[in-house]
Amino acid sequence: MQQRKKVKTQSKIDENPNSVIIRFSGDSGDGVQLAGSQVALTSALMGNDIATFPDFPAEIRAPKGTLAGVSGFQLHFASHQVFTPGDSVDVLVAMNPAALKTNLSYVKPQGTIIVDTDAFDDKGLRLAKYENNPLKDDSLDSFQVIEVPITSLTRESVAEAGISHKEATRCRNFFAMGLIYWLYDRDIEATLRYINSKFKEDIARADTLAFNAGWSFGETTESFARNYTVNAASLQKGTYRNITGNEALAFGMVTAAHLSNKELFYGAYPITPASDILHRLSRFNHLGVRTFQAEDEIAAICAAIGASFGGSMGTTGSSGPGIALKTEALGYAVMLELPLIVINVQRGGPSTGLPTKVEQTDLFQAVMGRNGEAPMPVLAASSPSDCFDTIIEAWRLAARFMTPVMVLSDAFTANGAEPWLIPDIDNIEPIPISHPEDKKDGKPFLPYERNDVLSRPWAIPGTTGLTHRIGGIEKQDGTGNISYDPHNHELMVNFRAQKVANIQETIPETEIYGEKSGDLLLVSWGGTKGTCLEAVKQAQSENKSVSHLHLRHINPMPGDLKEHLKNFHHVLVAELNSGQLRQLLRAEFLVDARGLNKVRGQPFWIRDVKAKIDSVLEGKE
């Protein structure tokens, strides 16, 4: 262990910081996801607010030690509310040279880098394409580099557990965790519980030994002058747990089914980053959930449509390429006017694109991506916990307006975790659904007769006197019979459009963070909410006339949106695409909106958003 002499440790880090951002990085098999999520959980249990960002490659196990195989897990914990996993990190744990090289740009100036020196041998450096050992030249002079032979210390510490050399080496993530726990005064109990519940006896013992060894190493090594504490945050009262976006979608769907007294059917085909929804729901059979892993994306949605026809809560979920395959069936569901939920956990595109990375590039696909005029409501979740509320609202709308509803999440929201205030199910407003009952008057049943919001009745098989046929061919108004009549077609196109437009009446007043008029309104949607909000807060703290508006309802948009947009001198739309929402806003409201756009498979950084706000305000663009 050496502390770089050039850097004075103690003067650089606040001993009682408000927030800390740590990034673990290593090979895909190094257990950095586990390490990061354990620190996050422990911090949440200690009362900090947290946000996490797993950042991993598409390959399950890319060649060891290579740049392609680097997996990262970033977490942010703080004594105040946090909205993002953070821009740049206070501490980078690099388990090998490739991890250092890939992640160095995320480290704050004067930030701390903990490296496993054992991995910086000739082979490791060669695989990471380093010509010189960065630990031995001056390239890291602006950071505090803490060199620890993690691999060899781990092996020594677990010797008494009697496990194989390979297994011993795999414990090194726990050694690194132990060091971090000591450095930031984290409570070790929850992780010890986790180790003992998750691993078989000898491995659990070895992991515990490595974990304790890492902690002790921090405590006994003189070079670490002290550790740092982060106080508890003051959050809303209640019981909390950590939740990822995909878990929240699964919980939300089961809850929506309960609230509407329906059984949930979820048809899906495995796809990154949406598969965890299927995994989670497949464990809820006793809650009346039927999951169906179909032969393809098309069968998955068609089975869900069949389930909806049968009177169940039909749902399906995928990511962009899978949604593309479902497109024809989406138009079919629009035509059938049956309730259906379709989740798109967006990832980088087009085509296979960047399967594990975040983008918001499927907004046009969601709003417009069908043949013919096939309007569909679209909602976007703003955070992991917001996925729960969004999907419940989606089912509320689907059932009331007899329409498929698209719910947008993204890879960042799906895999990221944050504390979730566990709701009391009994206090959530029920979702009333009624089906027409047996009819014996001999009069024909009208499956396309419309109510006050233009919805048709949801008549389900098994009901006497209501036998009827539905399909994708244009329907005659009222009877639902096949009709090629030109005026009827236009009437039905208009009905379907007006029905979706009617949803606007249900959208609550739009919240503005900040003044309702001023110099600049930052508009965002989906999973970038936290970052945009932080950037606006920073601007406001500099007395700049900046407000934030975040959209959940992409189609239809809120009725008061137009007025808000007109009340600001500048409208800036931040999104992880090339300007899709901006185009819609410009087309819809004739507003001269500008864009902050990023299409790199990475989330926004607060500093980028803040810099753009400043730049627009200063008239530089």
């Binding site: 098309i298 539905i470 096949i482």
Partner: protein, 334 residues
């Protein structure tokens, strides 16, 4: 509890049937209307689901619940419906284009899961609704609107595909063979699990006469053999030919006093191995007579039987859901 048989008219919808005059589909619809009242199932508990194509207009003409689907996907729609509504009788109506081309995947996966649905594949060996292109069952060399010099594609054999997909009921019938067809439809309806029925159906606009060998009264007895469970396969106008197994092949033998009856193939619908059924499916005109009847009918757990069903009563589910919410590490903010 038995219900009084329904009159045929109960199952006719008020919609005008719009197939080309003379289409084989009329004959199939007529037989369906004849057998539905015999099933003692109320019309509201029956659902017909179809894809796209001439055959797929079928649901509109029956007074039951119905879904006219999208191209090829009827088996998937039916799978979802049957999963949540095991109480319903669910029929799928498809064709050789819908079921074997665009929807081949949905068809085979429904069969291998043994979803308790009845699949009728109207095979006319041509695309009708799109005006006469070759289909996956068109014979090589067929001149069609998209193959002026004859199709170069090898055909798919629906029965072989169904057997390979482990369908638990596999049968074939002919549109105009009313008595045989109604019997097969009824047996399909009564089968528990996926019933797959190929129906030879004449498209007299684009592929007229495709099944003359099996329909023309003058020659059909020489080119078809009716399968009867527990009986030898005897055919010919004079009932003077039979089928026997020779090594791993089937062959035609004359049936007379010298024929060793013990050597004849005796049909066994319930044979656990599909091997012989595959040989039967492989009998093709003109070298062999083609089989009509039930090739295979076995009992096996259905898709719903195999799926876990640990559902709690609705009122206790919410307690369980609350437990899930609170599972793992939680903490209080006060």
């Amino acid at each position: 509890m038995s219900v009084a048989p329904k009159k045929t008219t109960n199952f006719s919808s008020d919609q005008e049937v719009r197939w080309c005059p003379g289409c084989g589909d009329f004959a199939i619809l007529a037989q369906m209307k004849k057998i539905l009242p015999l099933l003692n199932i109320e019309p509201e508990n029956i659902v017909f689901i179809s894809g796209i194509g001439c055959s797929s207009r079928f649901p509109y003409y029956l007074e039951t619940y119905g879904m006219h689907g999208i191209h090829g996907r009827a088996p998937a729609i039916a799978t979802g419906l049957k999963r949540v509504r095991p109480d319903l009788q669910v029929w799928v109506v498809t064709g050789d284009g819908d079921g074997l081309s665009i929807g081949a995947s949905q068809l085979i996966h429904a069969m291998r899961r043994n979803v308790d649905i009845k699949i009728l594949l109207f095979n006319n060996r041509i695309y009708g609704l799109t005006k006469g292109q070759f289909s996956p069952t068109s014979p090589p060399g067929l001149i069609t609107s998209s193959t002026p010099k004859g199709t170069a594609h090898q055909p798919l054999y629906p029965l072989a595909l169904a057997l390979a997909s482990n369908a638990t009921f596999v049968a074939r019938s002919i549109d105009t063979n009313a008595k045989h067809l109604s019997n097969i439809l009824k047996r399909a309806a009564e089968h528990r699990g996926t019933a797959f029925v190929e129906i030879y159906q004449n498209c007299h606009i684009y592929n007229d006469g495709a099944f003359d060998f099996a329909k023309n009264a003058d020659i059909r007895d020489e080119h078809t053999v009716e399968l009867i469970d527990g009986k030898p396969l005897i055919f010919g106008k004079e009932k003077n030919k039979a089928i026997q197994l020779n090594g791993t092949s089937l062959e035609i033998v004359p049936l007379n006093e010298k024929t060793k009856r013990d050597n004849l193939l005796i049909h066994n619908e319930e044979c656990s191995s599909p091997a012989v059924a595959h040989l039967l499916a492989d009998m093709q005109y003109p070298n062999m007579p083609e089989v009509i009847g039930v090739l295979r009918a076995i009992n096996a757990p259905t898709h719903n039987d195999r799926m876990p069903d640990e559902r709690l009563p609705a009122d206790t589910r919410v307690q369980k859901l609350k437990q899930f919410f609170n599972a793992g590490e939680t903490w209080e903010i006060s």
